[in-house]
Symmetry: C4
Subunit: 286 residues, 4 copies
């Protein structure tokens, strides 16, 4: 599987951004829930989740289109009858991966629509998307590229950790520890994809690292651990920043926040002005 730096970096940026976003959102939600003692998710929180799903679906769709229609891409053609061979399987490989993130994004959106999908289906689809991603990297044919295999095996560890976490969240929804662990897994995947890009196809040209030097393998295993330590530090810094921000904002913008949160509610129910008759949210916890 020839790795291009640009592709790897774009994928890494997508996953890191998702992780960074969660590293701000989940601590904030955790803090608010504790301070307000409201188990009811607000309308604002729901709109954010719909937006998150839409952004995820949009980038996944963009990813599929880019993979298919870049000049070296397969342009939706799977088999070449001229050369009697499969067309550009690497591009198809990533298109498949994005397809499942697209499905996950669509289910995220549908979960907050009036369709009343069963609670937890969004987490299951996220777990499935990660499982498929891991499966694709595990069953890939690395034939003679031992370093590629090593790097993508380490990536698969991060992916499966995230998948396990998302699967557990089907049963233990809104568990802050699981969400933290999942966030760290996405940050790790993101930064590790950047590392893979630098190792296998450096942006300044030239060949990748030596595939036969065993000390490279040992170093990269350690490097993976450092990336995770970095991910944890980013997570801690963002959580701390969220907390500071939350505390300083709560006094100033308390009223605005309520207004923003309940804008939709007002339009729907016209009863939230007294603050007591909030309409039932479609996906309340059982």
């Amino acid at each position: 599987m020839p790795t291009s730096f640009l592709g790897s970096a774009l994928r890494g940026t997508f996953l890191s951004t998702l992780g960074l976003w969660w590293s701000v959102r989940y601590p904030l939600r955790y803090l608010r829930r504790n301070s307000d003692a409201q188990s009811q998710p607000s309308c604002g929180a729901q709109r954010l989740e719909v937006l998150e799903g839409a952004v995820k679906a949009f980038f996944a769709l963009a990813g599929i289109l880019v993979e298919q229609f870049v000049p070296t891409g397969p342009h939706l053609q799977l088999y070449s009858h001229k050369t009697h061979s499969w067309m550009e399987l690497t591009h198809w490989h990533y298109s498949t991966m994005y397809l499942f993130f697209l499905l996950s994004g669509i289910v995220d959106i549908a979960s907050h629509s009036p369709l009343k999908l069963p609670l937890g289906l969004d987490r299951l689809m996220l777990a499935v998307a990660l499982l498929i991603e891991g499966l694709l990297f595990c069953f890939h044919d690395y034939s003679d590229a031992a370093l590629d295999h090593h790097l993508y095996s380490l990536l698969a560890v991060a992916i499966f950790a995230g998948a396990l976490c998302a699967f557990l969240e089907v049963f233990l929804r809104d568990h802050i520890i699981l969400e933290t662990f999942r966030t760290s897994s996405f940050l790790l995947q993101g930064s590790w994809l950047w590392q893979i890009g630098f190792v296998l196809s450096p942006p300044w040209g030239g060949p990748g690292w030596d595939q036969t030097d065993h000390s490279n393998f040992t170093f990269l295993t350690m490097c993976f651990c450092w990336h995770y330590a970095g991910a944890l530090l980013v997570l801690a810094a963002n959580s701390a920043a969220s907390r500071c921000c939350n505390e300083s904002c709560q006094l100033k913008f308390g009223d605005i926040d309520v207004e923003l949160d309940c804008g939709m509610c007002i339009r729907r129910g016209n009863k939230s002005s007294d603050g007591a008759l909030l309409p039932e949210s479609p996906s309340e916890d059982k």
Copy 2:
């Protein structure tokens, strides 16, 4: 293990049909339970489960008989003393597999009989049947057929996912997300068995795909993911159809439905005419 197209397709059809049936049944049950707010399973639902078990057992038994008594089959003979070798182990392999689905079907039936089997035993037997199926494919000897091994390894992934799901259902019975995941696993197994048939022994004759071309392996891994995406779409379509059907039928056939559901109850308890004194079901949730 020589794969015949017909055998693979029949097995695929059996598993797909089971998956399709569940993809209609579980959403319908989920919707009714929500709308009626009755946790009590109705008599009709129980009779459906008995019927499902009976059909499963019948097809498994038919499968055993067909595997044994087709012209090339072993006719229940295990060892040939003439050639000093085992007889037709592939047929025995599938007979063994069907045997555990037969046991699972029998336990399904017995669970709803007056025997009062402990709740969850039917799910355990389904998990066991899937584990045995996976074990048989994993420990099989693929010697020189690398593509066979690859295809059946992917099948084993789907099988073990289903087995894990069924095992979790022992503890979390009637969990719609787990049921959805199990259904998708069966649809995937079914369609993948069709794919295996087309790849290893095409129905239009000729040899199977090239066992040494590595791009075939990469393509088939992706293809497995597409089958899963297809299974998810079928699942979504059937759920949507069930919902539409449920909503349109509820008004028209509300009374008929109650009558159908409680036919057995009437015969048993003679008290359901007033609709309030439903007899206790033998396997109510604890």
Copy 3:
């Protein structure tokens, strides 16, 4: 690891007997609990568990002594300074295995003593004993004996299934489905050890089966499944027999049963004559 028929058969008999005993005890307890609606374990049930632990510990201790002091055994000597080699590692291997079953038996006894060990420690020790057994078989050196490796790998599957089950019982104590699955795992281990004996060192002399014939591997994988089907049938038959026995006995021996159960209680508390003031049992469920 040279396998002797007698050793394998004795081990198999031990594990099968344990499985058979459980296949009678657990259904009986399940039925009584349902009919009496008493969650309190009776004194008789506790004495049975102590007895079970004692028998397990006794046989494990006997096993260690036999392994060490048979004529070909190491007689507690680990290293021979004459030949500069380890002494009879196979005997030491099985002694180690029995040691953990001995510990498990001791913890079983101690759990029901006035020591008030935390509930679930007996299940953890059983899980540990099985994990160690599986570990010893997995990390063993089968060097050139591929058939030995195959047979013991299948055994390890049964062992780890039992270990997982016992570990889950730490958290879900007295769960009839888990107990049933554990029982079936022990029956399978027992009968498979007999099979291993017949395959690798037939009692009628002569060499074991051909280690190079691949059809033997396929046949033995299937054979393992048939053993499991057999184990399930034995389990079903014993459960059915327990039920019949329970129903016919309940009327006749109701009073005797109460007396037997509460003999110890009477001696302890002198209050069970009125049947209402049963003393608190030391290991009641939390």
Copy 4:
């Protein structure tokens, strides 16, 4: 990976000491909770946990510094531009390992600070530290040293068992069985690291054991089991000693104990003199 006896022994001592400390602390806490029927953790218990975290973090930091600045260490230099090779990767390997134990120690301290970290984060970080440790040993390059690989694989079994246990404790906090199992895993890791030191680089000089003799592998697998049996005995002895000590101390030092426990509380709340108005602890169980 060249193993030095001193390094291995120091690591083993660190992990064993942690295990020994837990083997006294957890039984004592279990006994007190049962006798007092107070689910509220006392201030003394919290200060002990902070101290434990601080000691863990201190030793991890010391470990990093020692690994870096011993004469043969890399002195924080990662790549030698002179020789165009990585510097002393083994030292970096252990530094990485200690880094995560340092993070775990810091989170332990922060969990009991007024920061109100979500409950269970300390257990997650311990699980992560163990996972990283296991990952580093699993993905290490043992190239031609089969015995090293075998010894560290067995160590990894102990590490992953501990990691699984710590991860389960995120959800089942203060579960005495899980704590016992985790403690035994640490004792095993500690003593096994001593064993590794003796086998691979004996302190009396000379080469390690023969890497090609297969009976060494079999013996060391058994030896690992004996270490675990030893760990269990130490655990049992310490629990018994804790119990004796607890019972004899409860009468004599009951008042002193209360004073020690509530010293901090008095300073904080000035209300514990009457024994009824204990201040709320920041990390009470949900």
